[in-house]
């Protein structure tokens, strides 16, 4: 069996045409990942360009309001381009550049990864094409404009459900047709090996910072770390440096859409089963014949029928826990954090905020919850207004 397994999950289930490309990528990554010059260059980009380290903010009002554990927010929303996606993209773009690639392609759901990729491409003078489900181009029109402004071409994908999974499929198809000069900048901890490892390593900066920052502020580890999970890149980034600290509960918040007992859900751990898709073995929402389900969530970024293979393993071993959060709960949390702390989170991140509202009151005042706010919510305002029956024209 191939490399890149997380327990039974992961692997490289891709067309033969792409095999040498992922092998070349793995070799390049192994060459550069511990290279001091590469890492110095990446750290410089993280700090000077993306604005890292991101703040770990003590949410005093929210803590008082919930009356239990102390709540800290890891502010990935304050990164350049407004989400955690930039961490992975700067790493991959730099790696692609070292490999001599001149063109980046990417999929995007909410548009955050697409914007981040377009940004890195502009910065590094690379060509950029972003595949985005047509449905999502409508839900996230502002991000489409941002990508074009940054010099990227945005290709609307009309096949299937015209959402994130179809954008991934189309980006994979595009990669098979043009490999020599093109790097597929995959946006989450998914797809064939080595992507789940590469993306996790570039996102692990989140938990590395949380650990150091909390040690400085509180002198101890958190009791729970919460993050939203679609493919799972901000969650694995938030969990990674705590995996070997068994006292830290790791909780991924999945998008339940209209509920896990309906067909309009994207909660993979709650409703999916083991399968093979998009290059990996993991859990997927699917029917009895293995046809991938047309999933739904109010959040375009979590609207994906699978979950990264490392999360699938953390679920199997019980090291992490995955909870479903409905649209209603997420929208309430979106509004709650805005009013309580003056922070408008991405609707994706609001899924994690929602679970914290349930969890914090059950914990002691001497305990600590860290919630990763993976992105900012400006992009979601029109959609949330619509959800509440108000039609906004930007």
């Amino acid at each position: 069996m191939s490399n890149g397994r997380f327990g039974i999950h992961g692997g490289q289930y891709i067309p033969e045409t792409l095999m040498n490309a992922v092998i070349e990528l793995e070799e390049a990554y192994n060459r550069y990942k511990d290279d001091p010059a590469f890492n110095a260059e990446l750290t410089e980009l993280f700090n000077e360009y993306a604005g890292r380290p991101s703040r770990l903010y003590f949410a005093r009002k929210m803590t008082d309001d919930l009356g239990g554990a102390k709540i800290y927010l890891k502010r990935e929303d304050l990164n350049h381009t407004g989400a955690h996606k930039i961490n992975n993209v700067l790493g991959q773009a730099l790696l692609a550049k070292k490999m001599g690639k001149t063109r980046l392609i990417a999929e995007t759901g909410a548009g955050q990864h697409g914007v981040a990729t377009a940004t890195a491409a502009a910065l590094m003078g690379m060509e950029c094409v972003v595949f985005m489900g047509e449905e999502d181009t409508k839900r996230q029109a502002l991000n489409v404009y941002r990508m074009r402004l940054l010099g990227a071409e945005v290709v609307p994908v009309t096949t299937g459900t015209a959402t994130l999974k179809d954008a991934v499929s189309q980006a994979m198809r595009e990669w098979t047709s043009r490999i020599d000069d093109t790097h597929y900048c995959l946006g989450s901890v998914m797809g064939p090996h080595p992507f789940p490892t590469i993306v996790r390593d570039f996102q692990a900066v989140i938990s590395r910072e949380i650990k150091a920052q909390l040690m400085e502020k509180e002198g101890k580890l958190p009791d729970a770390v919460l993050a939203c999970v679609g493919g799972g890149s901000n969650a694995i980034g938030s969990f990674y440096h705590f995996i070997n600290d068994p006292s830290v509960r790791l909780i991924g918040c999945e998008a339940a859409g209209r509920g896990v007992d309906t067909f309009e859900t994207a909660a993979t751990i709650a409703t999916g089963k083991l399968g093979i898709f998009h290059g990996m073995k993991s859990y997927f929402c699917q029917d009895e014949y293995g046809q991938i389900a047309p999933v739904y969530s109010i959040s375009a970024g979590l609207d994906y029928p699978g979950i990264g293979p490392e999360h699938a393993m953390l679920h199997d071993t019980g090291r992490a826990q995955y909870v479903p959060i409905t649209d209603d709960e997420a929208v309430d949390a979106f509004e709650y954090l805005a009013r309580m702390e003056g922070i408008i989170p991405a609707i994706e991140s609001a899924h994690a905020v929602a679970y914290a509202r349930t969890l914090a009151p059950t914990m002691g005042k001497d305990q600590i919850i860290v919630i990763t706010i993976s992105g900012r919510g400006d992009k979601d305002c029109a959609a949330i207004a619509r959800y509440r029956g108000e039609d906004l024209h930007e």
Binding site: Y13, P15, E16, S177, G290
Partner: protein, 259 residues
């Protein structure tokens, strides 16, 4: 000798592809019979998948249509069982890993053996992952067909040496679909294949005209055509079998004339 290898023993092969259930299973059955009458050496039967990542727009459309018409893996097994009453040329399933995996590889391959399937092609299962399915294929006498792509280079020897049935040579980069020109240096790929195995090698992806079929069969052991046939189905729907037969006959003749 497996039934598939034997199919290549009578001159250059022509291999048509059909997506089962596009536009319905009755039409698929009639097209399979038409292909057999027209002299096809073996037939590739696609089990539709919701997200066929190796396919171009034409076959993607066929997959979608078949699923919307209610086609399922079980109904396709029933179809093959029926067809086996009067069609004897080898059948090869072409589908995606998850279709087999969710059915249960043991149960799927046992069913293949029961109904008379001779081989299976899984485009999202490369050499590195074939152990997932190969033991079940071997146990039930179904050839797991390996693919070689224009980018395979140093991998060709390894893949060819362990291949069963026939080798599927992908003519071009990208996904399935007709192409006006095939620019890959297939001659050197075939040379590398020949240096490592004596099992037959057929070329697919991008072939639609008799001229292309003749050229591809000329440098290999046969030609595989999918999208061009699906286009005939798109055009004629349930009236397609007669048109498919006529087209396949012209392609069979073109391929044969190469050898």
């Amino acid at each position: 000798m497996s039934k598939i290898r034997e199919a290549f023993a009578h001159g250059k092969a022509f291999i048509p592809f059909l997506t089962c259930g596009d536009p319905d299973l009755e039409t698929t059955a009639a097209c399979v019979q038409a292909c057999a009458r027209a002299g096809a050496s073996l037939i590739e039967l696609g089990i539709p998948f919701s997200d066929p990542t190796a396919e171009g727009p034409v076959i993607q459309g066929a997959n979608l249509k078949a699923l919307q018409a209610g086609t399922t893996t079980d109904k396709i097994f029933d179809l093959v069982r029926e067809l086996r009453k009067d069609v004897s040329i080898p059948f090869v399933f072409m589908t995606y890993a998850n279709v087999v995996y969710s059915y249960g590889p043991e149960r799927f391959l046992r069913k293949c053996q029961d109904v008379g399937i001779d081989g299976i092609i899984l485009p999202d299962v490369p050499y590195e992952e074939k152990e997932e399915f190969l033991p079940y294929c071997r146990k039930h006498g179904v050839d797991l067909i390996s693919m070689i792509a224009p980018t395979s280079q140093d991998r060709i020897a390894r893949i060819a040496r362990e291949a069963d049935g026939f080798l599927y040579i992908v003519s071009s980069l990208g996904v399935t679909g007709t192409r006006t020109e095939i620019t890959t240096d297939l001659g050197s790929i075939l040379k590398a294949v020949r240096a490592n195995t004596d099992i037959p090698a057929a070329i697919g992806f991008g072939i639609s005209t008799p001229e292309q079929a003749k050229k591809m069969a000329g440098i290999s052991d046969g030609a595989i055509v999918g999208s061009a046939i699906i286009k005939i189905l798109d055009k004629y729907g349930t009236e397609a079998p007669a048109h498919v037969e006529e087209y396949v006959r012209s392609m069979v003749e073109a391929a044969r004339s190469a050898g």
